[in-house]
């Protein structure tokens, strides 16, 4: 290995790739702008958009008034909710398509409740199926109804069995919830959001992969397509030096892009949940998890680069190399999405061991096992090592394929004699 030549190739690749403004913009600048904007926009839209609840009170009794007042009180603490009490019929409500939910209190509601201890009052709740705020409105209405129900039950208890404490009568079981971490230790408040943190990190892994594909396909297949590779292969630089230089340069830019993507995804969720719930996402797992995540991103990007490299050496153009590599890595990365909805480790170890053959399974498990087990670091390192082994194997294979002969005639073999003759000219 001649380090001077390797350094020269890295310099050329970084200079060449960094001047590809479109790729740099798409891979590095867009994530840091687009993802947070998307998160902020969704959060803002959700928060800024009010929920409209219409109440039609045919009863006009004591309890229908109490229900309306409870709703109005709760709505002050429930975000952006408008309650309309001026409607007198359902037909009137139908004229306003912006109403997300209609609450109808029929005549006799109060009377039915008060006439005996067994009396039941009925209300009709009609959420609008095309409304994105209907479920929020429904939650509010149900909370108000529950509060009113509790109030009525307390009164009934006092009347029927005056020596009983209504609260204890209503809640004979006291719940004590204590969140625990690996090994049974008490979890910190931040760790209660570990699932959310992991989800964001796994999505960050997924988004980190794609810039790597763009850089490596441009570097290898692009050189072939732009007809600069042949002259390069005849220089004194060895195949390993050429390939190594390209890999290192692609990894440097991919690393920057991965960092930007991760930050972008984190900001997206911060703004999204800030907008939706008004809360900030704490990073559970601390610096240890962040460290493991950084190594995991690096190795996941490296594996992706290796896969893209293999496909680039046998593809005739940047477009085909890029689309083949994107298609393959996206299919393999389905495990990442699956892991958001289920425990990938349970599935892989108990029902589907084939998942272990997919490198990205180990990208996910390196994070999951770190937070799941008491000695999670050991399990995590095991998965990171498997990723490293995958990378080495793929790069070795790529280096073997990266021969002048194979690169030059790969296209010919696939496309037949017509192209053969062109090559022989």
């Amino acid at each position: 290995m001649n380090w001077r030549r390797l350094k020269n190739i890295i310099w050329k690749e970084l200079l060449d790739l960094s001047r590809d403004k479109r790729t740099i913009f798409a891979a590095i600048i867009v994530p840091i702008i687009f993802y947070p904007t998307l998160g902020g926009l969704i959060g803002y839209m959700f928060k800024a958009q009010p929920a409209y609840i219409a109440i039609i009170d045919y009863d006009k009794g004591e309890y229908s008034e109490e229900l309306k007042n409870t709703l109005l009180n709760y709505s002050k603490y429930f975000g952006n909710v408008n309650i309309f009490t001026n409607y007198t019929s359902e037909l009137q409500v139908l004229e306003n398509p912006n109403i997300d939910l209609t609450l109808i209190i029929p005549k006799g509601f109060t009377e039915n409740i008060t006439k005996s201890l067994n009396g039941v009052g009925i209300v009709y709740i009609k959420p609008n199926v095309v409304s994105s705020k209907a479920s929020e409105a429904l939650s509010l209405v149900e909370m108000a109804i529950n509060a009113l129900s509790n109030n009525i039950v307390r009164k009934r208890i006092k009347t029927a069995i005056p020596n009983v404490e209504p609260e204890r009568f209503l809640n004979p079981i006291k719940k004590v919830v204590e969140y625990i971490g690996p090994g049974g230790r008490a979890a910190s408040p931040e760790e209660r959001f570990l699932f959310l943190t992991l989800m964001i990190f796994i999505l960050g892994l997924y988004f980190s992969m794609h810039p790597a594909i763009a850089f490596v396909t441009d570097s290898v297949a692009g050189e072939k397509e732009r007809k600069t590779l042949e002259a390069l292969l005849v220089t004194p630089a060895s195949r390993i030096e050429i390939l190594g230089g390209k890999l290192i340069a692609s990894l440097v830019l991919s690393g920057v892009a991965a960092g930007m993507n991760t930050l972008g995804v984190f900001l997206m969720y911060t703004f999204l949940f800030g907008g939706l719930l008004g809360v900030q996402i704490p990073i559970g797992g601390g610096l240890g998890l962040i460290g493991i995540y950084a190594i995991d991103v690096f190795l996941t990007v490296t594996v992706t680069v290796s896969i893209a490299l293999l496909l680039s050496t046998v593809s005739g153009s940047v477009r085909s190399a890029h689309s083949n590599a994107t298609a393959l890595t996206t299919v393999l990365a389905l495990v990442m999405f699956a892991s958001i909805y289920g425990d990938l480790e349970k599935i892989a170890s108990q029902t589907l061991p084939l998942l272990y053959l997919i490198p990205y399974t180990h990208s996910v498990l390196a994070l999951v096992t770190f937070v799941k087990y008491e000695n999670g670091f050991i399990y995590s390192v095991r998965h990171l090592l498997i990723l490293a082994i995958y990378t080495l194997a793929l790069i070795t294979l790529g280096a073997k394929l990266f021969s002048g002969e194979r690169i030059l005639i790969a296209k010919v073999k696939r496309k037949g004699r017509k192209f053969k003759l062109k090559l022989f000219a």
């Binding site: 030549r5 050329k12 002259a231 005849v234 002048g404 022989f424």
Partner: protein, 246 residues
């Protein structure tokens, strides 16, 4: 010493035999031309000498080094201009030269000297500091030639060096090659369709057709052998007589 030594060279692509046992030598300091129609095996021959393709059978040596077993040593001595070679368009002309100079030069002085020589050969003047994507086709070809010759290889392999260039640009390129050989004493192996170019530049010429060398000699010898007034005529007669024999 022989710059290139080729004995019984065969090359197959699947069932298709592109080279059918060609044999020829090139002396050190010579400008040698390989002439043939499309699909005759010129580029395959040059690629094998340049260590990109491997021979199916036969021996190819460059300054005594075997192109298969000692490819690394061969690549230290040669420089290659492929027919469809292009440059790194997002880099400037001088950055392109610098990149290739660093592949060959051991010290920074050597590299500077190569780049200086490259700028001179290219004849691009101050445009050499502009990005290659702003160059015309002729300028790109001149820079590609400069990149190939500036490292002063012992053997320069030039595949259709004036391919696709207009008359003026072609004359510039031919003059650069002639000047380069005069100044460095390097050996040049070139392929071309342009008989005038070959006659002007080459000390010796080989006619290649359908993977066979059908004639070899100085331009004057070939013209005399085929009773032709120019090399173009000689080439046509050589191909026709080959066809008659087969």
């Amino acid at each position: 010493m022989l710059a290139v030594e080729i004995k019984n060279l065969h090359r197959f692509y699947g069932d298709f035999e592109a080279l059918k046992g060609i044999t020829f030598d090139i002396d050190e300091g010579e400008i040698f031309g390989l002439i043939g129609p499309n699909g005759s095996g010129k580029t395959t021959t040059l690629r094998i000498i340049a260590t990109i393709l491997k021979p199916s059978k036969g021996i190819v040596k460059v300054f005594g080094y075997d192109v298969v077993r000692e490819a690394d040593k061969v690549r230290e001595l040669i420089s290659y201009l492929p027919e469809e070679a292009d440059l790194y368009k997002r880099l400037t002309g001088v950055e392109n030269l610098l990149f290739f100079a660093k592949m060959y030069g051991e010290t920074s002085d050597e590299v500077k000297e190569m780049v200086k020589f490259g700028i001179e050969i290219s004849g691009l003047g101050n445009r050499v500091y502009d990005k290659v994507e702003t160059y015309s086709k002729g300028m790109r070809r001149r820079l590609a030639l400069a990149r190939t010759l500036m490292v002063k290889p012992k053997l320069a392999i030039l595949d259709e060096p004036t391919s696709g260039l207009d008359v003026y640009a072609s004359v510039n390129v031919r003059n650069s090659i002639k000047k380069f050989v005069r100044e460095t004493g390097s050996t040049v192996l070139l392929s071309s369709h342009n008989m005038l170019e070959v006659e002007y530049l080459c000390d010796r010429v080989a006619f290649i057709s359908k993977g066979n060398i059908i004639a070899i000699g100085t331009p004057d010898e070939l013209k005399k052998k085929y009773n032709a007034s120019n090399l173009e005529e000689a080439f046509v007669r050589a191909v026709e007589s080959e066809l008659e024999e087969t």
